[in-house]
C-alpha cells in the first residue's frame, strides 16, 4: 500500500463521515442504487480535486454541493429528459390543499407508499424535501447546496409538501370534501 499524503488522510477524515448523507442525496436524485454509487464515487474524486479550495467550516454542505452538482451533470448526460420539464417558481397558494384531507388517516400509510410518492415528485421538489426532511438541513444550508435564494427553497418546500400530501391522499382514495380526488 503506497504512502498516503497528509492531505489525502485529512480528506478522508473530512468526507467519509458524510458518506451516508452523500449517498442518500444521490440515491434520491438518480433513483437507482448502481447509478447512485457511481455518482457518489465520481463526486468524491471530484471533491478531492477541489479539496485544496476547502477552507474548513461546513464540510457537509461543501461535500453535498459537489454531490448534487455531480448528480445534475450525470442526469444531464444520461437522463436529460428529467431535467427538461423544469418547474415554474412563481408563488402559488400553498395552504389551500392542506386544509382539506384528513392526515390523521395517514397513520395507516405504509412506508412503501410514502417512498413511492416521494420518488414520483419532480426533481426540484424531491431534492429540497430530501434535504429538509431526511437530512434535516436548514434552509440556509439547502440554499447553499442547491444554489437557490432562500425564498425559493421555502416555496419549493411548501409546494413539494403540498404535492406529496395530495399524492398520498389520492392514493389512499380519500375523497376530499368536493368529492373529486
Amino acid at each position: 500500500m503506497p504512502e498516503q499524503s497528509s492531505s489525502a488522510v485529512r480528506f478522508e477524515a473530512v468526507v467519509l463521515p458524510h458518506l451516508p448523507a452523500a449517498y442518500n442525496l444521490a440515491r434520491w436524485l438518480v433513483r437507482n442504487d448502481q447509478d447512485a454509487e457511481d455518482v457518489v464515487q465520481e463526486a468524491y474524486l471530484r471533491a478531492f480535486k477541489f479539496f485544496g479550495g476547502y477552507r474548513g467550516g461546513e464540510s457537509r454542505t461543501w461535500l453535498l454541493t459537489i454531490v448534487r452538482n455531480t448528480c445534475y451533470s450525470w442526469l444531464q448526460r444520461n437522463r436529460s429528459r428529467e431535467l427538461t420539464d423544469s418547474i415554474d417558481d412563481a408563488p402559488e397558494d400553498v395552504t389551500a390543499d392542506f386544509a382539506n384531507p384528513e392526515l390523521r388517516l395517514m397513520q395507516n400509510t405504509d412506508a412503501q407508499m410514502v417512498r413511492a410518492a416521494l420518488t414520483e415528485l419532480p426533481l426540484e421538489f424531491r431534492e429540497v424535501m430530501v434535504m429538509r426532511e431526511l437530512e434535516e438541513l436548514s434552509y440556509k444550508e439547502i440554499a447553499a447546496i442547491a444554489d437557490l435564494p432562500i425564498g425559493t427553497v421555502m416555496s419549493r418546500l411548501a409546494r413539494g409538501r403540498k404535492r406529496l400530501h395530495s399524492l398520498l391522499t389520492n392514493r389512499m382514495g380519500i375523497e376530499t370534501k368536493g368529492g373529486a380526488a
Partner: protein
C-alpha cells in the same frame, strides 16, 4: 396577521426557521384561525410521517470499501509528477494573485450601481421574507404619498395603476445607497414589485436599463432628478410594461 400572509410562514414555523417575534405572531394567529391551525397540523403530520418511514438509503458496506480503495488510488502521491506539479501550482498561484488584484482594481473602479443593485435585491427579498412589506398599507395613492411627508426630504411620485393590473399595496421607508428612500409596493397577480425611489445625484436623465440577478428582474432609470429602481420576480416583459406606465 392574515391567512394570506401565513402560507410560507407556516412551513418556516414547522421547520423552526422563524425568529421569535414571527413565531409568536404565527402562534397567535393559529390559536384564532382553525383552518390555518389544521393546515399547520398537516404539515407537522407529513414531516413526522416522512421521518417515521425510514426513507433514507444507506450505502452498502461493499460500496464503502470500493469507494475507499478508489480514493486511495486517486489520492496517493505521484512522485514522478511532484516536481512538475509544484511548478504548475506556483504558476497557478501567481495567476490567481494577478487575477485577484485585477478584480479588486476593477471592483474599486466600477460605478456603484452594482452595489446599489445588490442592496435593492436584498431589500426586496427582506421585505418579502420578514413580512415587513409596507409601513403604510394602502391602495390609495392619496394615502401613500402624504405618509412620506416629513419622513423623507423629497416627495416620491405615487401612481395608481390598478386599472392596468398593477395594484398599489402600500409604501415603506427603506435605506439604500446610504440614504433613506421610499419603497412603493405594487402587486401583479401573485408577484410583488418593489419600486425604490430617491433623488438622483445629478439631474441627468437616463433611459431604463434592465438586468437580471439572483432570479429577479431589475429595471433602473432616472427621470426629472429622481432615481428609480423596480424589482420583482415578475417576468421582464410585464415589468417593462409596468415601468413604462410609471414613466408615462
Amino acid at each position: 396577521m392574515t391567512c394570506q400572509e401565513t402560507g410560507l410562514l407556516m412551513h418556516a414555523l414547522a421547520d423552526g426557521e422563524l425568529d421569535l417575534t414571527k413565531s409568536l405572531e404565527m402562534e397567535a394567529h393559529l390559536r384564532e384561525c382553525q383552518s390555518c391551525a389544521r393546515a399547520q397540523k398537516e404539515i407537522h403530520g407529513l414531516s413526522n410521517l416522512m421521518k417515521d418511514s425510514s426513507l433514507r438509503f444507506t450505502p452498502s458496506p461493499t460500496f464503502e470499501k470500493r469507494l475507499r480503495s478508489a480514493m486511495r488510488r486517486e489520492t496517493k502521491e505521484k512522485p514522478a509528477n511532484a516536481r512538475w506539479w509544484r511548478w504548475s501550482m506556483a504558476a497557478a498561484s501567481l495567476a490567481v494573485v494577478v487575477l485577484t488584484v485585477w478584480t479588486i482594481v476593477v471592483i474599486l473602479n466600477r460605478p456603484s450601481s452594482d452595489t446599489v443593485a445588490q442592496e435593492v435585491i436584498s431589500s426586496h427579498v427582506r421585505s418579502l421574507m420578514a413580512q415587513h412589506l409596507t409601513d403604510v398599507p394602502s391602495s390609495d395613492q392619496h394615502t401613500v404619498k402624504p405618509w412620506f411627508d416629513g419622513k423623507l426630504d423629497f416627495s416620491p411620485p405615487v401612481k395608481d395603476l390598478k386599472e392596468q393590473g398593477f395594484e398599489l399595496r402600500g409604501g415603506r421607508l427603506d435605506y439604500i445607497a446610504s440614504r433613506p428612500v421610499a419603497a412603493l409596493v405594487y402587486q401583479r397577480r401573485q408577484h410583488l414589485i418593489n419600486v425604490f425611489v430617491w433623488p438622483a445625484k445629478s439631474g441627468s436623465r437616463s433611459t431604463a436599463q434592465a438586468s437580471v440577478s439572483q432570479g429577479y428582474n431589475l429595471i433602473r432609470w432616472t427621470n426629472s432628478g429622481i432615481e428609480w429602481w423596480a424589482i420583482s420576480d415578475l417576468n421582464l416583459a410585464e415589468l417593462q410594461q409596468f415601468v413604462q406606465m410609471l414613466q408615462g
